[in-house]
């Protein structure tokens, strides 16, 4: 009986909060009213966890085929639109022509001098000129995008993953100006007509919000490795940077690695084995 009263009180509080324009504190209470009075955090025992997630990319193992399968695996499973995809005219009539400069991408290929513009040596070893380099969000320790976001729609989890709340983002694109790696894309238009087969395990986005790589947080939570790792044939390893026993730390100990624009102090979590 007590519990029921409390619940109905919270419901009223929730409705009142909507009427008031709602401060975050009141919102918190109102969200409680939909479920049990005390929120219970369910934790998947199989989830992969880390103190700070990081990625090591072995550039020796990256070939054009690997690049292609990594990009495809990532983009397909995250419903990233492909502007080269032929639009289904019946489902989406009157779709306007695309501007390829407004494309969306989470992980993609760059030349060495674009991925590492500050390491462009005059007499660089020739093999680097043609090698494909995979670039994506660096999940920086000091992420400039997180600082720039005026709504905390871009935020950093305790385990180091920089995530986006697509429902809170207002589309101001301050994060895109802040990111020194060009890792962020804005949905200049509705992306759905350009998604070949919508994957139901990940949300599609709406026009007007920013998006980027999420290090497959949704897969880590299920105890699975990120898509890029699975598709990379061993070229990409993801693990806990702060665990001295982890595979990524072993790789960093054994090889010479570089990071993108580390002089900026953003502390990227993606390392490249040279």
């Amino acid at each position: 009986m007590m519990k029921k009263e409390r619940r109905s009180f919270l419901k009223v509080a929730g409705i009142a909060a909507i009427g008031l324009g709602a401060s975050p504190a009141i919102n918190f209470a109102s969200s409680d009213s939909h479920g049990t009075a005390h929120a219970v955090k369910a934790k998947n025992e199989e989830a992969l966890t880390a103190h700070r997630w990081g990625m090591v990319i072995d550039t020796n193992k990256i070939t054009d085929e690997v690049v292609e399968s990594v990009v495809e695996a990532c983009h397909k499973s995250h419903n990233v639109p492909d502007f080269n995809h032929e639009v289904d005219e019946e489902k989406y009539p009157d779709t306007r022509p695309v501007n390829h400069k407004q494309e969306v991408k989470w992980i993609w290929e760059e030349h060495f001098h674009n991925a590492f513009p500050d390491k462009e040596d005059e007499f660089l070893a020739e093999k680097f000129h043609d090698l494909p380099f995979l670039v994506t969000c660096n999940h920086c320790k000091n992420a400039p995008c997180v600082k720039a976001c005026p709504t905390q729609a871009t935020f950093k989890r305790e385990d180091g993953i920089v995530l986006m709340d697509y429902h809170r983002c207002i589309g101001c694109r301050f994060c895109m100006a802040a990111c020194p790696y060009g890792s962020r894309s804005f949905n200049f238009r509705d992306p759905r007509p350009f998604v070949d087969e919508t994957v139901s395990t990940f949300p599609t986005r709406t026009r007007g919000v920013v998006e980027k790589c999420n290090l497959c947080a949704e897969r880590l939570a299920r105890g699975e490795q990120p898509h890029c790792v699975e598709a990379s044939e061993g070229a990409i390893v993801v693990g806990d940077l702060e665990d001295p026993e982890s595979e990524v730390r072993a790789l960093l100990n054994e090889h010479y690695t570089i990071r993108r624009k580390q002089s900026l102090g953003t502390e990227p979590s993606v390392y490249y084995i040279m």
Binding site: V104, N114, I170, A177, Y181, F186, D190, G208, K261
Partner: protein, 385 residues
């Protein structure tokens, strides 16, 4: 007092109808942008801010420039500015209305804009920009309105308007400083990453704002019975002169630092703007036009005979307004994004729809400005006439 705005000459109403037509056109195109997204603009993944944010930045300067009449009058009792102080304050109101509208039309999800208040983020400079812009708008509306009302009733303005005026001075400096901090605090953008960006913004603001005010004074003198006074305009022109020279000097400092230090990440942007980069030269003619306009304007203002020439002065002011607009509106934003952090070159030009929406925002600001100036000049005619 607002009833004054609905009584006017035929010309007044023609102008209002014209502005409403432009607002209508802008609104019509904006509906398309609202429904289909920012795909209708020329912005891209690499150049993620364009014409809207550029005009926003410029108009923050025009708004801040209003303080150049407030300081001499309220801090130095400079009586000659008595008649035009209200014009400076109302110009700030009109400019700020445009600033806020430009932010709204630039948002991908405008209906969510109150998230900025629901989830206040004190680490984001945009949070502070919102505070100072709205604060400055509020101060100018309250002060301008109350002081004008007092003048109409021929009583002294209420005592509390004075501290609000004094508060508006740091706010004026604040809006442009914080707006510069939006850009100059970003680690990966060599063009903006310079401590002189805020001073440079202020210098260009204190040139473009008062220069625009001089032009407005000419228009007021031609179309109303109120005379802002030649003395006041001459003093304003000296302020413009100092400010535009400071602006050019700051730019020279930038050019020296990037070229002499020769650091590629910083040099590439100015190289792109002034000489072109890897064959991309879209902004080169614009930037040289801007420098020529500001430079010639500075010379015209330096020479007393030319500065005191009543026919030449509005032309000189127009040169400075346009020169500063190109510098800030076209160069400052595009220059920061080209080349991209990965050293790709994606050029930017606004599309037709983008320009029409921009004109719609300008027309809205001018409508507010017209109505406020109508009130101000009519009250002054009544009292002094």
């Amino acid at each position: 007092m607002l009833e004054i705005a609905i009584k006017g000459s035929k010309n007044y109403w023609l102008w209002i109808v014209f502005l409403l037509a432009v607002i209508g056109a802008g609104g019509y195109v904006y509906i398309d942008q609202f429904m289909n997204g920012l795909m209708i603009t020329g912005m891209s993944r690499d150049v993620s801010w364009g014409f809207y944010i550029a005009n926003f930045t410029y108009l923050v300067g025009v708004a801040a420039g209003g303080v150049m009449v407030v300081i001499p009058f309220y801090l130095h009792d400079y009586e000659k500015f008595h008649r035009i102080t209200i014009l400076g304050e109302f110009l700030a109101v009109g400019a700020l209305v445009m600033c806020l509208l430009f932010i709204v039309v630039d948002l991908g999800q405008p209906i969510r804009m109150l998230n900025v208040l629901l989830y206040p983020s004190p680490k984001s400079i945009l949070f502070y920009d919102m505070l100072v812009l709205n604060g400055y708008l509020f101060l100018n509306i309250v002060v301008g309105w109350k002081v004008l009302e007092a003048e109409r009733n021929q009583v002294k303005p209420e005592w509390w308007t004075k501290p609000l005026v004094l508060l508006s001075i740091p706010f004026a400096i604040g809006i442009h400083t914080v707006t510069a901090y939006l850009y100059c605090g970003l680690p990966g953008r060599g063009f903006w990453l310079t401590a002189i960006l805020a001073p440079r913004f202020l210098a260009s603001a204190f040139a473009a704002g008062p220069a625009f005010l001089i032009i407005l004074c000419y228009i007021i003198k031609k179309f109303t019975k109120f005379d802002p006074g030649w003395d006041a305009m001459q003093t304003l022109s000296k302020i413009v002169c100092y400010a535009i020279i400071a602006n050019l000097f700051f730019f020279l400092c930038e050019v020296f630092v990037v070229y002499y230090s020769n650091i590629p990440g910083h040099k590439a942007h100015i190289q792109y703007l002034l000489f072109g980069y890897h064959g991309y030269t879209a902004l080169v003619p614009w930037m040289w036009t801007s420098l020529a306009l500001m430079g010639t304007g500075a010379v015209f203002l330096l020479i007393p005979q030319l500065r005191n020439n009543k026919t030449l002065l509005p032309v000189t002011c127009a040169m400075i307004v346009i020169g500063a607009w190109i510098d800030k509106g076209l160069g400052m934003i595009s220059g920061g994004f080209v080349p991209s952090p990965l050293h790709h070159v994606t050029e930017y030009a606004p599309t037709g729809p983008e320009i029409i929406i921009t004109l719609g925002v300008y027309a809205t600001g001018f409508l507010v400005l017209t109505i406020l100036y109508k009130l101000a000049t009519q009250v002054k005619e009544e009292v002094h006439g």
